[in-house]
């Protein structure tokens, strides 16, 4: 499709088309108003003149019936004498066409209405409406009225109508152009920004003005969508980077074990390779789950649930594990804390935190889990996490140097943060004496 010259792009905008329609309707309204004004002023004056002519004709014919042409002639003389304004015209013609009385010359050929021009005494021509009627005994009677005043009124009305129509047309067109251009300009701005996004610049945003018109609301909505898109893309990139970096090590180990098993097949080597493959599959499952949770598509499965029951269950599951490490699991759960969310994910989130606390807490020490409607706190007395490391531990595969020697994928806290984020729960890492305190804020 050929793009029109940008200067004329406004002509295709919705605003301009709407303005054009509006203009047409306004003009039609103006024309209607003008028509009515015409009918009630100039039209009225013309009808008035015709009525006077008919009345005069009737009276003259009546006097003719009573006293013949002589009577008509007398009546005409009397009327002309009384007409100071000089707007009345009469003619009584004999059967041979000779003027008997009146101030007109020349009898019209046909009976009935017509417009004529009469030379005035001052030399100017005046438009006159005349009615001609034949007389019973031959000859004709013509009655007329000067239409100069009516014509002048009509002229003025027409002039006014043209002025008004012209102004309306100009204002409407000008307004339409202005509105159309402003709309076209803003739409073009949006289009440019979105084209940049389409071309790969995800940081591009639409201009938002403080006002709240529909364009600003649309821009805000589109920007929010772009924010989400950018976050998703960033998450995707992070996942691919993580996978590339951190799966290489276990895959290499798997390959080495398979190589060893190929050289000297032994059940032990095969079992080791199998365990390595299982661990890899676990990592994939965890990565997929984190990605799925971060994508935020699971809110549809949210349901009201008893958070206390979930916390209680997690505490019971890990109590023996803590006991085996000689730890005291200090549980303080306020009963009946209601929450809306995904029970399976919340269970896993709490389990990951308690599991971490039990594993990293001091053997023979104390692990605490507490739940109130305000927050969930999981605390241990292990080595804790240095302040500088606290943001990084939430990243996939991130493991503290001290933990590298112990088994684990470094995905536990990443999942915790993803699940918390999905549920609008805040996660804070704090110092707990020597150990770590994780505080999940429930109240948004």
């Amino acid at each position: 499709m050929a793009e029109p010259h940008p200067r004329w792009a406004f002509a295709r905008t919705t605003a301009f088309r709407v303005t054009l329609w509006h203009l047409l309707l306004t003009l039609a309204g103006t024309a209607l108003t003008g028509g009515v004004a015409w009918w009630t002023t100039a039209g009225y004056a013309a009808r008035q003149a015709a009525q006077e002519i008919e009345r005069g004709m009737g009276v003259l014919l009546q006097s003719g019936a009573l006293s013949g042409p002589r009577g008509i002639a007398l009546s005409i003389e009397a009327r002309l004498a009384a007409d100071r304004s000089g707007t009345e015209f009469y003619l009584l013609a004999a059967p041979d066409g000779q003027r008997v009385a009146g101030n007109l010359s020349g009898v019209p050929r046909d009976a009935g209405w017509r417009e004529a021009t009469v030379r005035q005494p001052d030399g100017s021509d005046a438009p006159v409406l005349v009615l001609a009627a034949p007389l019973p005994g031959g000859g004709a009677l013509v009655v007329g009225r000067d239409l100069s005043a009516v014509r002048a009124l009509e002229q003025r009305l027409l002039g006014a109508a043209l002025w008004v129509g012209g102004v309306v047309l100009l204002l409407g067109l000008g307004g339409g152009l202005l509105i159309g251009r402003s709309v076209a300009r803003r739409a073009a701005g949006m289009e440019r920004a979105l084209a940049a996004v389409e071309a790969g610049d995800l940081a591009q945003r639409l201009a938002e003005r403080a006002g709240g018109d529909e364009f600003d609301r649309l821009a805000r909505r589109i920007n929010a969508t772009l924010d989400r898109l950018q976050a998703l893309m960033a998450a995707l990139r992070e996942v691919t980077d993580d996978i590339a970096h951190d799966l290489r090590t276990p895959l290499t180990r798997l390959r080495q074990r398979l190589e060893a098993a190929a050289r000297a097949p032994a059940a032990e080597a095969i079992a080791a390779a199998q365990a390595e493959a299982d661990a890899l599959l676990d990592i994939f499952a965890a990565l997929l789950r984190i990605a799925q949770v971060e994508a935020g598509t699971q809110r549809a499965g949210f349901a009201p649930l008893d958070l206390s029951a979930i916390a209680q269950s997690v505490a019971e599951v890990y109590a023996p594990a803590a006991e085996e490490r000689g730890q005291v699991l200090d549980v303080s759960i306020m009963p009946g804390v209601a929450f809306t969310g995904d029970a399976a994910l919340l269970t896993q989130m709490l389990a990951n935190l308690v599991e971490n606390a039990v594993r990293h807490g001091r053997a023979g020490g104390r692990v605490a889990l507490s739940l109130t409607p305000r927050d969930i706190v999981v605390e241990d007395d292990g080595p804790g996490i240095p302040e500088a490391e606290r943001e990084r531990v939430f990243r996939r595969f991130h493991r503290l140097d001290a933990a590298r020697a112990t088994p684990g994928s470094g995905l536990g806290l990443a999942l915790v943060r993803a699940v918390a984020g999905l549920h609008g729960i805040t996660v804070a890492l704090e110092d707990a004496g020597s150990g770590l305190r994780v505080r999940l804020g429930l109240a948004a």
Binding site: Q292, V317, P320, A321, A351, P407
Partner: protein
């Protein structure tokens, strides 16, 4: 492994290699396997009846697994069904159960896990009679008074230990995997890194078997646990 009862299984799976692998394993375990490679054939075979368990992949050509099981249920056939899926999403499990599935297993799975779940489904007791007392050898569980005795001696169990034992006793003689325990007893639908199941089972075992000479809860290497009377 002592899985004596022969189970007739309909396996609906479009990946030929997986299907062959699963079928071979099930046949080695003494079961009979019918195979279908798409949902339409699967539906046709399933409505023919005569199967004890349906094993249905979720992603199938022609008719997907969910729709197939829904159609089977609509035809009034209650054969227990287990879904296999490559998608381990959280909502997927619920979706599968709502479609009329009885169990749900994410790929990749250990074969022992599938076998244990198939056996559990095939031998699920009919629902009509509610048992009130479970017995394995001299171990007795009263489900109403919620007490456990062995050889007449009262054994004190915590509520969660009681549930764990009940889960095992209801499946006497059947292998129960770690995952089945995690799901059935604790409602954990993920695999914790810490060996929590092992710890719980060994504590329960200590309470049940210590001082009675004969162990009732046995570990099945590479698969899970089983409770049974004979050593």
């Amino acid at each position: 492994m002592m899985e004596a009862a022969r189970v007739r299984i309909l396996l609906v799976e479009d990946d030929a290699e997986t299907a062959a692998y699963v079928a071979r394993g099930l046949e080695e375990a003494g079961h009979v396997v019918d195979r279908a490679a798409d949902g339409q054939d699967g539906l046709f075979l399933a409505t023919g009846g005569g199967h004890d368990v349906l094993v249905v992949d979720r992603m199938l050509p022609k008719l997907d697994g969910l729709s197939m099981v829904r159609a089977v249920r609509a035809a009034g056939i209650a054969t227990p069904a287990i879904f296999l899926t490559a998608r381990a999403g959280v909502g997927d499990r619920v979706e599968g159960l709502e479609a009329g599935g009885d169990d749900y297993l994410a790929k990749p799975f250990a074969f022992a896990e599938l076998l244990a779940r198939i056996n559990a489904l095939a031998r699920r007791p009919p629902l009509q009679q509610e048992v009130t007392v479970l017995r394995v050898a001299d171990l007795e569980m009263d489900l109403i008074r919620r007490t456990v005795t062995r050889a007449g001696q009262r054994i004190e169990l915590q509520p969660r230990e009681f549930r764990l034992l009940e889960f095992l006793m209801r499946r006497e003689g059947q292998v129960v995997t770690r995952t089945m325990l995690l799901e059935g007893v604790w409602d954990f639908h993920f695999d914790p890194r810490t060996s929590v199941v092992e710890t719980h089972v060994s504590r329960l075992r200590a309470k049940l078997d210590r001082g009675f000479g004969r162990d009732l809860i046995h570990t099945v290497r590479g698969a899970g646990y089983v409770i049974r009377a004979d050593g």
